[in-house]
Amino acid sequence: MRPTIRASVALSALAGVLAVPAVSAEDRYNLQQPVTHIAAEIYSMHTLMLFICLVIFIGVFGTMFWAVFKHRKSKGAVAAHFHENTTVEIVWTIIPVLILLGMAWPATKTVIAMKDTTNPDITIKATGYQWQWGYDYLKGEGEGIRFQSVLSTPRAQIDRGEYKGRNYLLEVDKPLVVPVGKKVRILTTANDVIHAWWVPAFGVKQDAIPGFIRDTWFRAEKEGVYRGNCAELCGKEHGFMPIEVHVLSQEAYTAWVAEQKKQMTQAQEPANAAASAATAG
């Protein structure tokens, strides 16, 4: 009876330690779940690199630790005298080059794919400010929509130790909204210093440089909410200007665009009324 109880206590303790609420083990130890083909390519490329490094690690340090334990003076080991071997040097130069070529091939393909921003469905400009993002829908469905996107985490949570929400420091008042499955080209620029627009789940990071336009692209394959951060030190609130992207179905996106346009027209109306009142008077 007792061994079984002990075993089940041990098992539940183990389960308790391993269980991480709301976050799977993978999320804590690896790149975020990819939501674009590019991010998936990066994810598997990283896994491949890890595997290759692991093999080399085991080879090199297996050898080293073998020597550490066996070739000790205290074990009576007598030092050999060899101290060079040209063949061996050539071999362990050429083999790494071949391994590197194997790594470079998939990487080259992905670099070229990441750079291809042609034929987007929607083009959005993301402008980095100290310390928030501004979004301008420049071309494609939603053209003309523009708004600022500001951190919405209450200061009380940051400064006064109030209980932190799940999306602490990763939530904004007005998120970027895009349709699923469409190629979105993001132009980046900045208003003041260099910022960087980064959404890990998309595999996208692009510096936002004042006075210059850069671009990148993504095609989100899954609806959902994806969060990122500014990725270039830009002053005191660098850690407080996140990116939040809502990927909607095509229908929901169209509805959102219509809603935004309506709000923009409504915002115009009081201004129009004032303008016509001024001209009338």
Partner: protein, 530 residues
């Protein structure tokens, strides 16, 4: 001193005593490479502790989500100065200190070629350090633009930035003069019979490092001067409005910056190449290969700088070139690792503290090398750039790399410098505490970076909390363990078991032919090297 002819009837030592000031004046006016080497090392340890306090303050803030300890502006000052102090105040001067003490001893020279310039090289550093650390206390505080000081953010900063620029200029001048000294000394003052292929590896790596320093420190000076003129003299190097480009700063900075990191690791390779053969009682495997590999690394280091800029919007062909060139550096670096392991293989090893640190270096530095290779893959770097993965990578190569090799060399040569054996038990304890706490601090940072935590932020989402907590605990453990090193060194300076000329059975080199402690003047007559 070296201008005095050696055959004076009344003897050189007697003559030396007359001209040998004591007290403060001795240290201010010394041209002796041993004195200057000691001053460099004491200075660098003081800077290491001050940079360490900054790091611990950073880690204290990052212990938990939320802002508890410091405000974001000050947090950024701390990260910036931690980097500048550790790079320019701790690691580089420490290696120069080793160069000063060891190069003349290892090549059989009486001193450095330019002994007076050597004094000036050192004494430039304390004022520079005062400028840098003093910048915390001026209005606006220290610069908070990151140790990389990217424009336009650095152009925005207060007068702390100008103090940092001035300090960097001064430290750069010190490094350049020191490097010239090292090159001229090694080329011209080797003892008869010490051909190039008999030069100790520590001297080879420092010779190559010195060329890197001379090549790139002026480039850094150029970069920060352009920032200075953009700030105060109406230029627009980095401002689009005036026809400039912020990315130009990054190109110029990293053209310096990448060779700089090799400047910080090549002497480490040299130290480890002295220690492993000594404690394996077996010659260094592949001496010629090691020289070629070090030279290849140095040459390649000039053509990889833009791997720090993969997210700036470089054209695809540029990204590919820099990716390939960066990956290529793994080849000569790997050759060196294999050669060290081959030196250990079928040796007769003992594991006194220097060997512990050297083998520890090999293990942990190589891990840093792997993460560097992973970052070299441009698409992967898009995800990892500016995250804690990069912080983990460079701390693995700089702390477990450079710092551990400095500890290894310190324990190895302390008997020569002081005449006493250090406390072996405490030394070993320092090693084990350091390597364990180091890994507790920095290994979790790989996961943080992969999971999406950016760097240079004082606060973060709770999903990053547990690894941050672990890193902070490790950091405090690591930091406190370094006080043990301080204790061991002070204890050794003051006394201990008398050290013979060659305390390490397998050690080779001219430095082990002079008594311990090494006399104030050594090799006044150059030895003949067979």
């Amino acid at each position: 001193m070296s201008a005095v002819p050696h055959d004076l009837a009344h003897g050189h030592d007697h003559h030396g005593d007359h001209h040998h000031p004591t007290g403060l004046m001795r240290w201010l006016t010394t041209t002796n490479h041993k004195d200057i080497g000691s001053m460099y090392m004491i200075f660098s340890f003081i800077m290491f502790l001050s940079g360490g306090v900054m790091a611990l303050t950073i880690r204290a803030e990052l212990f938990q989500p939320g802002l508890q300890v410091v405000q974001p502006e000050f947090f950024n000052q701390l990260t910036t100065l931690h980097g500048l102090v550790m790079v320019f105040g701790a690691i580089m001067p420490a290696f120069v200190g080793f160069a000063n003490w060891q190069i003349p001893l290892m090549i059989g020279a009486s001193d450095m070629a330019f002994a007076r310039m050597n004094n000036w090289s050192f004494w430039l550093l304390p004022p520079a350090a005062l400028l840098l650390l003093g910048s915390f206390f001026v209005p606006g505080g220290a610069t908070a633009a990151g140790w990389t000081l990217y424009a336009p953010l650095s152009v925005q900063m207060g007068m702390g930035m100008d103090m940092a620029i001035f300090a960097i200029h001064i430290m750069g001048a010190s490094s350049i003069m020191g490097a010239i000294n090292i090159v001229v000394t090694i080329i011209n003052m080797r003892a008869p019979g010490m051909t190039w292929m008999k030069l100790p590896m520590f001297c080879w790596t420092w010779l190559i490092t010195a060329y890197l320093l001379i090549a790139v420190m002026p480039v850094l000076a150029g970069a920060v001067t352009m920032v200075l003129t953009d700030r105060h003299f109406g230029t627009s190097f980095f401002s689009a409005a005036g026809g400039g480009d912020p990315v130009l700063y990054q190109h110029v900075f990293w053209f310096f910056g990448h060779p700089e990191v090799y400047i910080m690791i090549l002497p480490a390779f040299g130290i480890v190449s002295q220690i492993i053969p000594a404690f394996a009682r077996k010659p260094l495997f592949g001496y010629a290969s090691m020289v070629y590999a070090t030279s290849s690394i140095a040459i390649l280091s000039f053509v990889v700088w833009a791997h720090h800029m993969f997210t700036t919007g470089l054209p695809a062909a540029t990204q590919l070139f820099f990716m390939y060139a960066t990956m290529l550096i793994a080849v000569p670096t790997g050759v060196k690792v294999f050669n060290w392991v081959a030196t250990m293989w079928r040796g007769s090893m003992t594991f006194e503290t220097p060997m512990l640190f050297a083998v520890g270096f090999l293990f942990v530095f190589t891990m840093g090398g792997f993460t560097g290779l992973i970052c070299a893959i441009a698409p992967i770097d898009i995800q990892l750039q500016d995250t804690y993965y990069v912080v983990a990578h460079f701390h693995y190569v700089l702390v477990a790399g450079s710092l551990f090799s400095l500890f290894a060399g310190a324990y190895y040569w302390l008997p020569k410098w002081t005449g006493h054996m250090y406390d072996e038990k405490l030394g070993k304890r320092h090693f084990w505490l350091s390597i364990i706490f180091f890994n507790v601090t920095f290994f979790p940072m790989h996961f943080l970076g992969l999971a999406g935590m950016p760097r240079r932020i004082p606060d973060y989402n709770p999903m990053f909390a547990d690894f941050n907590e672990l890193a902070t605990i490790g950091a405090f453990g690591f930091g406190l363990s370094q006080l043990l090193f301080l204790y061991v060194v002070i204890k050794c300076v003051r006394g201990g078991e008398p050290a013979p000329a060659k305390p390490w059975e397998g050690a080779e080199g001219l430095e082990w032919t002079v008594p311990s402690p090494a006399p104030y003047h050594t090799f006044e007559e150059p030895p003949l090297v067979k």
